[in-house]
Amino acid sequence: MPKSKSNSQAKSNPGFKHDIVDRKYEGIKEKDYLQLLYLMKLTRSAENRVVKLYRQGKVVGGVYLGTGMEATAVGSAYALDRKKDDALFPLIRDLGAHFAFGQHPKVYFLQYLNRANSPTKGKDGNIHLSDSSKNIIGMISHLSAMIPPAVGWALALKMRGSKGVTMNYIGNGGSQVGDFHEGLNFASVRKAPFVLIIENNQYAYSTPNTLQYACEKLSDRAIAYGIPGYQIDGTNVLEVFETCWRAVQRARSGEGPTLIEAVSMRMRGHSEHDDHKYVPPHLLEEWAKKDPIRRYEAFLLEKGLMDEKSMTELDQRVEKEIDDAVQFAEDSPLPEPQTAAEGVYAD
């Protein structure tokens, strides 16, 4: 079973098989190729660092990672455009989406270290971070509960004549909750500019898909709402990006929502205190071969967009950014106790 990879291990991987087809991906520009890698690396590095802080006892509560799912988180949100009024409703495994949508890593550490200057001011935990200045709306724990608000936000954009789009995520477990159905149905009836990504990472906590649903593909649920549905490889950042990009353009042009099932594997426990033992080791070994970062690196190397040197430089840059971000967060103050009583109501 692969252990938590340190950044150095994940650095470069000559010979890693990538199976990414080199073709023209719609919506993608030259500069995006490297940016996608950067964002995935930033994500993994940030998450690995939080694990370290957690082990040092600096993080309280749960720690939830998206290891193995970075391509889904990054590729999807990268298809959005904040300047066009888009809004992001990310989930538990979507740190990469925060980054792809323009969030700074220091905010992530402020949040996990519950600092006074974090977006939630220490009032909500771990990955539940919003940023009202960036139209990032952090999740509540109750899975699928953010789908109706994400649809509502999308409809508000439409009402105001904006061309903005909202994107939201749900797990292969969470998509069994009633709000999935109500929210997606509402969106489809009202042709909301809305994209929903099902992150099918094979498990919901310890529960395998055979105990969650009985349909063939979760993307087939799109049929229940008369909208397009796609099942894609969630470990191929280019495929994720392209599919989401098309869905976003579709939404932007008023044609309504799209459902995208991105298939991947949750390579770590549900949270850091979960031993992950219920996953058969061979499954993890197989999926390790599809590691979204390593195969994309191999692709970029082969395509000649990167070489060993630029790869090393990128890793160093990421490492430095994370170091700085952690430092900034650790230097930031904890909230004053009595601020707990503030902010229940808006003025």
Binding site: A87, P119, T120, K123, D124, H128, S130, S132, I137, G138, I140, H142, A145, M146, I147, P148, P149, A150, V151, G152, W153, A154, L155, A156, L157, M159, R160, T166, G178, D179, E182, G183, N185, F186, V189, R190, G343, V344, Y345, A346, D347
Partner: protein, 324 residues
């Protein structure tokens, strides 16, 4: 100046706010072409168009959640529950998404959930409930429940202009039974402020919504015997007007807490605790409660009559207090 019913006051408030503020919009089941199950939004569809008067699928959780998201994005949605009983299917959206959003994220959630509640119309267990107490214990929500056309109009306007999720409970028994003349022009009733609907000195009744009228009837009857009962209409249930309650109790020294909701775990408990802590020295008698019997709301008229508070139960409780 014509007399306006309680339900007309609600309609007027909605229409005036729709005209005043382009960010206000309504959503709910059958509110468009049909004008709502109780016709609160009759003709609104023609007047404001299908974007601002949004007929929705039969999905309370989505209605509330969509309203929440739209509010966060800057709109001012007013969601109708066809009956407030149905809010339970969107409960999580109310108490966990809407109520906690500002505290945990800084996003404002200026939205209203409104609809008919309450019994005495033979609606049975699922069309007669008083769900307000579920929400009064949930920080982050505001809860109001008017008893008169004036308050209905003023509170609804205040609710729509508030930057927080406000639950607005209309008492369907009052819809067409209560009328009054309303002043011209815009007015609001501030959330959090109660009102003395009848001054008295011998005992005070703390209550709200339909029970205000029952209390007033009893007070009138007892007045003929020379006893002056004060009737305090809370109007807002969260936040509620603690000063008004305490002031009334300190003057009247005897207090009856009255609500249509069932007794155990009901709102009267909260008021009792407030009084027993902060007006303890002023009490000349035990605090009494009158509320519905601890059962679901029964359907048959004879059963519902037994279940609900009525003039006899209230009068008896007041006499006990006065004779104490």
């Amino acid at each position: 100046m014509a007399e306006v019913t309680y339900i007309q006051a609600i309609t007027d408030a909605l229409r005036e706010e729709l005209i005043r503020d382009p960010d206000v919009f309504l959503l709910g089941e059958d509110i468009g072409q049909y004008g709502g199950a109780f016709r609160v939004t009759k003709d609104f569809l023609e007047e404001f168009g299908p974007q601002r008067i949004m007929d929705t699928p039969l999905s309370e959780s989505a209605i509330i959640g969509v309203a929440c998201g739209a509010a966060m994005a800057g709109m001012r949605p007013v969601a109708e529950m066809q009956f407030m009983d149905f809010i339970t299917t969107g409960f999580n959206q109310v108490v966990n998404v809407c109520a906690k959003m500002h505290y945990r994220s800084g996003f404002k959630v200026p939205m209203v959930i409104r609809g008919p509640s309450g019994g005495r119309v033979n609606g049975g267990p699922f069309h007669s409930q008083n769900p307000e107490a579920w929400f009064v214990r949930t920080p982050g929500l505001k809860v109001v429940a008017p008893s008169t056309p004036y308050d209905a109009k003023g509170l609804l306007k205040a609710a729509i202009r508030d930057n927080n999720p406000v639950l607005y409970f209309e008492h369907k028994y009052l819809y067409r039974r209560i009328k009054e003349e309303l002043p011209e022009g815009d007015f609001i009733v501030p959330i959090g402020k109660g009102e003395i609907k009848r001054s008295g000195k011998d005992a005070t009744v703390i209550t709200y919504a339909a029970m205000v009228h029952l209390a007033l009837e009893v007070a009138d009857d007892l007045s003929k015997e020379g006893v002056e009962i004060e009737v305090v209409d809370l109007r807002s249930l969260l936040p509620y007007d603690k000063d008004l309650i305490l002031d009334s109790v300190r003057r009247c020294n005897r207090v009856l807490l009255l609500h249509e909701d069932t007794l155990t775990g009901g709102l009267a408990g909260e008021w009792a605790a407030l009084i027993a802590e902060h007006a303890f020295e002023y009490l000349d008698a035990p605090i009494k409660r009158v509320a519905s019997v601890d059962t679901p709301v029964p359907y048959a008229p004879v059963l519902e009559d037994f279940f609900l508070p009525n003039k006899e139960k209230i009068t008896k409780a007041l006499r006990d207090l006065l004779e104490y």
